[in-house]
């Protein structure tokens, strides 16, 4: 009899453990290659500490949207996706995403989440995306070259005139050294690093709700003149004109550039891959001072109808914990929770604090056709920046872009 009871107990235990194992669930998430540094680390940390598991796929930046679209059409989309935040409105408009409004608002730290992310994650007053990774735009300068040029290596430029003057002095060092760098044929790079100059001066390129293109602002014209004057004075390498973004970071990292607008990602990348480059980080200034920043990075979105919502929420909870935010910060993303950002960054390079501060006030234009307008290599924004920085007909290029952008906005699916 005792034997039988023991056997029964054993069977129950086996069955119980079996049921326990079956209850553990695995959710599949995708991330674009930009997240290939921090994403595997946070997924590993989550998987080690939880019964439920995350299976991660890293997809090349240019392929993730078409691939997700095809997968969604075929019913094989991942349960969730870390998605470039600018795409959230159009994904939500397509009816592809799970409405997570109630859950999002129930998070005790909801009010501290990056406002720019939450704004792009919101469509028709419902929340479809929550902040995951973040990147702010900053200005970086090469301290060694500043010193050689007789400038104060500890002081970065704080307005447009100083940018131009400092770049000219560094450029005078000659040889392969150039004063300034930007990717002149990259829409995404320039919305990230050029528009903050305009915003900080009080202008904009799109109306608040994304319904009007406002390229006729004098602030845009002023910022264009700043870049044009530097190109004319030969302070910018010839390759910048055709750089589609491939050299966005590499040019500065090579150590021959005085000043370059860049992103917070550059801090981690320079520290780990180019420890010999001594650099400073400051805000992207307005014409007469002040500053602004683009709020970039990813929103975390959930595929409509997924059966793994519980796991996905568990993972996002972990990412928002101090441990999760610290892992993200350590491997290249800024924290997205303002209330614990300082703690998450406290053991890291102090230059991150500048970026985190920029992020808190960061701005992201809102549009369901952001890709068509801005990121597309053949869109009106990319075409315009190339023409106005390097071409002859600035007014014509602006007018043409204004018209094309407005017509794309007007033809977009109604919001």
């Amino acid at each position: 009899m005792r034997n039988l009871i023991a056997k029964l107990a054993l069977a129950t235990a086996v069955l119980g453990s079996g049921l326990g194992a079956a209850a553990a669930d695995t959710a599949n998430i995708w991330v674009r290659a930009d997240g290939s540094n921090f994403m595997p680390r946070i997924v590993d940390a989550f998987n080690k500490a939880h019964k439920d598991q995350i299976k991660l796929d890293i997809i090349p930046n240019a392929e993730i949207i078409p691939k997700y679209g095809a997968a969604a059409a075929g019913g094989t989309a991942p349960d969730a996706l870390s998605l470039d935040l600018i795409y959230t409105p159009s994904f939500a408009a397509a009816g592809q995403l799970e409405d997570i409004t109630d859950w999002a608002k129930s998070l005790p730290y909801f009010a501290s989440l990056s406002p720019a992310h939450v704004k792009t994650g919101t469509y028709k007053d419902h929340i479809y995306g929550l902040p995951f990774s973040a990147d702010a735009s900053v200005l970086i300068w090469n301290k060694k070259l500043f010193k050689q040029a007789g400038l104060d290596p500890e002081k970065g430029p704080t307005n447009w005139a100083e940018i131009a003057a400092d770049a000219e002095k560094v450029n005078a060092l000659g040889g392969n050294i150039k004063g300034f760098y930007f990717s002149g044929n990259c829409g995404g790079c320039n919305i990230f690093t050029f528009t903050p100059l305009i915003w900080a001066s009080g202008g904009d390129i799109l109306s608040e709700d994304g319904s009007k293109a406002t390229l006729d602002s004098p602030q845009l014209r002023g910022a264009i003149d700043l870049y044009r004057s530097m190109v004319k004075k030969d302070l910018v390498p010839a390759g910048a004109q055709t750089d589609t973004g491939a050299n966005f970071f590499a040019a500065f990292a090579a150590g021959n550039i005085g000043i370059s607008p860049s992103g917070a990602f550059a801090i981690g990348a320079l520290n780990t891959q180019y420890p010999n480059v001594d650099y400073g980080v400051t805000f992207l200034p307005g014409k007469d001072g002040g500053w602004s920043s683009f709020a970039g990075g990813d929103n975390f979105v959930v595929t409509k109808g997924t059966k793994k919502l519980a796991v996905v929420k568990e993972f996002l909870d972990f990412a928002y914990s101090l441990e999760g935010q610290t892992i993200l910060a350590k491997y290249g993303s800024l924290p997205v929770r303002g209330d614990i950002a300082k703690d998450a960054l406290k053991d890291l390079d102090p230059r991150y604090q500048i970026a985190a501060e920029a992020m808190a006030k960061g701005k992201t234009p809102y549009s369901v056709v952001f890709n068509d307008l801005i990121n597309s290599a053949n869109g009106p924004w990319t075409q315009m920046v190339n023409e106005v920085f390097f071409g002859d007909d600035v007014d014509g290029a602006i007018a043409n872009a204004q018209e094309t952008m407005q017509s794309i906005i007007d033809q977009a699916p109604q919001k």
Binding site: P66, A94, G239, N378
Partner: protein
């Protein structure tokens, strides 16, 4: 017919008919895999493309039937027509350039002489490289800072400022032409060479005896007898150029300032950047019709003249 059929039932004939029928079936079986491939990879996708072109079909979300609206929208799509115009311009230039290089090369390597095989291999080699790989290679060669041409010219003191070949239309366009000719001329050369070799030698010899010079022989014998080969090479070159995409996407991204957007690039852009798959399908159908029409015109122009044989 029936009467004849019923009266011709003699055993030997019946056996023959059965044999022919069986051979037909066996023949069909032999080509079945090819037919299946054509069906799966051409006919069915073509049908699906035509079907999609009648829909508002976003990459994500529901699609809906809209009849011919996509085709009406194409009429107003100035960027497509500009892209088509540029594609036509590129096709004419590149085809002339390819033939201008490939024909002399074909004549040069046609007759066996010392090192001919080496030359043939050397000229043909770029043709085995894929267009994407070749484009990547050239985009590196043409890079103003880290490539070969501009830095080498600068280091040798030939220019005092590095020149960005891809920044303005003319140099960028001709860089692409150079790359495509480098890659394709060898292939066209081989086709033309086989055409040249198929011309009966006695015709040439007879013409020599009649006192015809090299130019007269080329005009009166070589060119007419090369018509079929030229037609093949021309159609391949024109069709390939109308469908040009890789080199413009990889090296120029349609730049500078969208001046080198080709028709296929615009289809790609509408389908996979703007995510309008239905519209992209309609554009594809239009391009297909243009391509078929152009090929038919070329075949008609280069058809065998009456009485020549």
């Amino acid at each position: 017919m029936t009467t004849i059929a019923t009266t011709t039932t003699a055993p030997p004939r019946a056996r023959k008919l059965v044999g022919a029928g069986r051979r037909q079936w066996i023949g069909l079986l032999y080509v079945a895999p090819a037919v299946a491939l054509v069906m799966v990879f051409f006919v069915i996708p073509l049908g699906m493309t035509a079907w999609m072109s009648l829909h508002n079909w976003p990459l994500m979300g529901e699609h809906s039937f809209i009849g011919l609206d996509n085709y009406v929208a194409i009429l107003r799509d100035t960027r497509f027509w500009n892209a088509l115009k540029f594609t036509g311009y590129y096709t004419v230039i590149v085809t002339i350039a390819i033939f201008a290089i490939a024909f002399p090369l074909a004549i040069f390597i046609e007759k066996p002489r010392p090192l001919t095989n080496l030359y043939r291999t050397f000229f043909f080699m770029p043709a085995v490289v894929g267009f994407a790989s070749a484009s990547l290679l050239w985009s590196w060669l043409l890079n103003v800072d880290s490539g070969l041409f501009s830095p080498a010219a600068y280091d040798l003191g030939l220019i005092d400022k590095k020149f960005n070949l891809l920044a303005t239309f003319q140099p960028a366009f001709w860089s692409i032409i150079a790359m495509v000719v480098w890659k394709v001329a060898g292939f066209t050369m081989i086709i033309l060479m086989t055409g040249l070799q198929s011309i009966p030698q006695d015709l040439q010899e007879a013409a020599v005896i009649d006192g015809a010079g090299p130019f007269a022989r080329f005009r009166a014998i070589t060119l007419p007898l090369m018509r079929r080969t030229l037609a093949l090479a021309l159609i391949l070159s024109v069709a390939g150029s109308i469908l040009a995409f890789d080199q413009f996407y990889i090296i120029l991204r349609g730049g500078p300032r969208n001046q080198t957007l080709t028709a296929v690039y615009w289809i790609f852009n509408q389908s996979f950047v703007s995510f309008k798959l239905g519209y992209g399908a309609a554009l594809s159908m239009v391009l297909l019709v243009i391509l078929v029409a152009l090929s038919l015109i070329q075949l008609w122009l280069l058809r065998k003249p009456e009485g020549l044989d």
